[in-house]
Amino acid sequence: MFALMVVLSKNPVHSVLYLVLTFFTIAGHYVLLNAQFLAAVHIIVYAGAIMVLFLFVIMLLNLNKETEPHKSIWLKASAALASGLLLIVLVGSLKGAENIVATNKFNPNIGLIENLGKTLFGDFLLPFEVSSILLLVAMVGAVMLGKRSIK
């Protein structure tokens, strides 16, 4: 899986590129799950916008070499141990779940844009508006933080 390479590769630029590959595989899973519109949005937002932002910041900060200071071996071992234990706990708890198959009559049109739009603007109209405000606040905040000096 490419996701491990995101974590383990020394060079941050390689890390970003592996993350793009991971996002494309996740988008492939969305297509397999009949969520075509979501797959398209996922590729556009993540691979198109967020990853470009990451690459831009990495290249702006000139981090494309192994500038990371050495972390002590105990810290690395304990991090690996803790995440391994988390994996064991989660997998063990999921082991008891019975096999779920698609119970209802399978509806292949659920991921199409028409039904999603009806749900989004019907049941979720207020969260939609609130998320637009959130995006506006984030944009203003990023611009304010990015200014060189605040008078």
Partner: protein, 105 residues
Amino acid sequence: MSAIETIPLNWYLLLSTVLFVIGVLGVLFRRNAIIIFMSIELMLNAVNLLLVAFSSYLSDGKGQVFVFFIMAVAAAEVAVGLAILMMVYRNTKSSDINILNKLKW
């Protein structure tokens, strides 16, 4: 024939669990702040994958709408986080999070 009828939901549970744990490992393992952001993105995507899987298996579109909201929050978080990171880098010339140890309790 789609994947829903052939693959049981447990495999998606397992896949998103593994993705989430890799994200946790990245947060704990690395000290570069940008890679920690990327690991957070990985965790959010694990949750997204799980939401889409459940919403397809239960034939309910609400899960996929939630994924939109998570994407909006992730985009906002990345924008603000990278702006903060730029400020930190400009002041300290480093992206090591141990520079910020004054934030520790």
